[in-house]
């Protein structure tokens, strides 16, 4: 994904349902530096105010696809943290 000149590469972190309430945001754009796996994202989120309620084994998706814990991520990716699913 092309970044405009001077814009540092970021990861967009999507938050839903209880996690969006805990963090007070539906998404956060974080500098990609230091975020190389979904576990790095989880650790960063869990360190934020309200973030401790996000489970360590939270389901994650990268660019709309379910991903295994610790999957690698790249600048420009959208990483979603999914609370326990409750559809149906």
């Amino acid at each position: 994904m092309a970044d405009s000149v001077g814009t540092p590469p970021t990861i967009r972190i999507r938050l839903f349902a209880r996690y969006a309430e805990l963090l007070g945001a539906e998404y956060l754009d974080m500098p990609a530096a230091g975020l190389s796996t979904t576990n790095d994202v989880l650790a960063r989120i869990r360190a934020l105010p309200g973030g401790a309620g996000v489970g360590e084994s939270t389901l994650v998706a990268i660019n709309l696809k379910q991903a295994a814990p610790g999957s690698p991520i790249r600048p420009g990716d959208e990483v979603a943290l999914l609370p326990p699913l409750a559809g149906g």
């Binding site: 349902a17 979603a80 609370p83 699913l85 409750a86 559809g87 149906g88």
Partner: protein, 152 residues
């Protein structure tokens, strides 16, 4: 065809999309909003979704179901606020014979609960609200909640 909708879901419309002269059996599932959850009185609820992913996963579920059984399948899931008794999810499966239709319909609802990123916030008669967590330690989980608790 979108799988998520803010409007009421209708089985008739789903069935019309999947029936054909070679399909002699149709099985449907309708999931309705219950007025109670773990002993608490529920007034209503609100579904939210990671919509682009939910649409993609629903398409995947239909495709995998239609490749595993000789069926045509359709589903629809509500998002937004729902009242007691309203249909939250509707599934219809048509097959040459009933066995495949029953099996495929069961597969679809179980996999939908397990894999589609949708969340449900219940409102209780005492004015409180709660995000439903099927994986949380409930004293007596229902079969469907147990199914929802399986890891991906």
């Amino acid at each position: 065809m979108a799988f998520l909708t803010r409007d009421p879901v209708h089985l008739d419309a789903l069935i019309a999309r999947i029936t054909g002269p070679d399909r002699g059996g149709v099985v449907t599932f309708l999931g309705l909003v219950r007025d109670h959850h773990e002993g608490r009185s529920v007034d209503g609820l609100e579904y939210s979704a990671y919509e682009p992913m939910a649409e993609a996963v629903c398409a995947e579920l239909i495709a995998e179901t239609e490749s595993r059984w000789p069926v045509r399948a359709a589903l629809s899931h509500r998002v937004g606020p729902l009242g007691i008794g309203e249909a939250a999810v509707a599934i219809a499966v048509a097959a040459p014979h009933r066995d495949e239709a029953f099996a495929a319909c069961r597969h679809l609802i179980e996999e939908l609960k397990r894999r589609v990123p949708i969340w449900k916030q219940e409102s209780y008669s005492d004015g409180t609200r709660c995000w439903v967590d099927p994986t949380a330690g409930s004293t007596k989980p229902s079969d469907e909640e147990r199914a929802g608790a399986r890891p991906w």
